[in-house]
Subunit: 331 residues, 2 copies
């Protein structure tokens, strides 16, 4: 078996976020699905950018945020994702590497520009995302570094990868390589609209390739077509080794080996912007998991990391997460 | 006299900020002057960016921040500054226009890229700035829109404009046009290193062209070469109609017509990043001034706007400043 060099390798859409405040009226006028992630083309991205308020640019992408979280917790993370060789691509690569994440995917030299996500944050701190996938459509199986996957305890895949057409081949290749190397594979369902778009493929995938499933309650109920959370939980338990289901302010549920742990959310000092909450919960959980902590402790670290990221604008951690965990009384 | 269409027109270096956390050791290792603004060339900008941590990109520039503040307070603002026609230039223009500021300066079609400022924020919330001026060196007198200046109650100039060589001609042209139209001219001294670089020219300028002088205590003492704040205050009073001197947590002093008002700082909920404190103080003061409020009220609005901007990362207001002023009991 290859030497473990990374705790987690994340694979995802490499995106720079443009965050702005907006009121609910703006979402209605511009036909934006509140709380969701909508795919948009270049023309719509340009038109929406012209109409939205002043922005801040921060590197994002669901799995990218998770890997930045792993690094901020003191873990060893790597990332695979496709940018274009342009200014935003350089910003994305800089931010991930500067966070301490290994990132060597070759940037595209031609084709669409680096992906961006126009995020409107409403006064209730909810975020509504509009993603122009740009260079992400260039990610394919040739970008999966077999040696890297074999050297990672967990390979973590974001469900959003199912949107760009060739990425799903990369996705399946990475999952297969990980299992051949005796490693584990985790998947985040990402978004309930994304689940609706790809339900049959996700169901097949969860049954065949996924050891650890991350989802919020809406996503897992969408996957199993039920309005009953308990029913969705049972289905997920039957389907994969570990199910990690988040429920916002209601906390989370971690189920494995027939045991269900119900965990409280962390107390919040401030709620500013929910962008990245799920991504950072996954980071905290996976950090604990790859440190062989008990599952309730993994969930608690996830909750601590999620609470930090929603206390400020942007989906990457600003505080020293390792320090927050040390101060939490977990050790 | 031309119709007043704008309360304030700001002229400055059009810059996108790249903000990152750093510890004091990083400043020492990289020879960065703590709390100051240092000019750097393209090679140094690239090298420093490679070494610094993950960043967030936010439109900045001292006078640009001030104009965004004027707009957030409900005032009518315009801006003159030079970007390149590139991605960061488009971001800068978008953010200013989306904030409600009139901005029509023609972007440069060739030459250096849009300016950027690498800002390291230390744990004490102090910011240390490293500016690559880029396209700002292209600003010249041909960019001064005489009709716009004549239609603005106050023309506001940042002292940083003295760094790019041709901008000072633009600066003097704008001040002359404003006075010919019966308007007022305000200057911010910007930075004590900047004052050291241009002291003699600033002294001549303040004596001949400036009605309202903004400075912090370090800058005004640097200008008049004294270690005694009271002496600097006297000199500034003799030199210009209104002197607005900020002293950080000690509050501010507003002197005009032989009367000196000492004003307290606003109580702070959180101190995160002092970037933009002086810019937003000037915005609040000028907003009150152009609404014909008494000078102590102008200073109070300045303090409210400054307190908001230092409570979060970045130099542009995030909260509704007009609402904060309404809630302050000033009316």
């Amino acid at each position: 078996m290859a030497l473990v060099r990374f705790d987690v390798t994340g694979i995802g859409n490499a995106i720079v976020d443009v965050l702005s405040h907006a009121d609910d009226g703006f979402l209605v006028e511009n036909d934006i699905a509140k709380g969701g992630m909508t795919l948009i083309d270049a023309a719509r991205a340009e038109a929406l950018y012209q109409r939205m308020g002043p922005g801040i640019e921060v590197s994002g992408g669901s799995a990218g945020n998770t890997m930045a979280g792993i690094a901020a917790l003191g873990g060893r993370g790597a990332y695979i994702g496709k940018v274009r060789n342009d200014l935003l691509g350089k910003v994305f690569a800089h931010d991930l590497r500067a966070a301490g994440v290994h990132f060597e995917t070759r940037p595209a030299e031609e084709g669409p520009p680096t992906a961006r996500c126009l995020i409107l944050v409403t006064p209730d701190a909810q975020r509504s995302m509009n993603t122009f996938l740009g260079a992400c459509v260039e990610l394919g199986p040739e970008d999966i570094d077999a040696e890297l996957i074999a050297a990672s305890r967990v390979t973590y895949l974001e469900g959003y990868l199912w949107d760009p057409p060739r990425a799903k081949q990369a996705f399946v290749k990475a999952a297969s390589l990980a299992h051949e190397a005796g490693r584990e594979v985790a998947l985040s369902l990402s978004d309930s609209f994304c689940v609706e778009r790809h339900r049959e493929e996700f169901l097949a995938l969860v049954g065949s390739h996924i050891d650890i499933l991350f989802a919020n309650e809406h996503e897992v109920m969408a996957l199993y077509r039920t309005a009953d959370f308990a029913e969705a939980l049972s289905a997920a338990q039957a389907h994969c080794k570990v199910a990690v289901l988040t429920r916002g302010a209601k906390g989370s549920v971690v189920a494995a080996g027939g045991v269900v742990h119900e965990l409280a959310a962390e107390p919040l000092a401030r709620l500013v912007d929910t962008t990245g909450a799920g991504d950072l919960f996954a980071a905290g959980f996976l950090h604990g998991y790859t440190q062989d902590r008990p599952l309730p402790a993994c969930g608690r670290i996830g909750a601590i990391a999620a609470a930090e990221v929603i206390s400020h604008f942007g989906a990457r951690p600003e505080a020293d997460l390792a320090e927050l965990v040390r101060g939490s009384g977990l050790d």
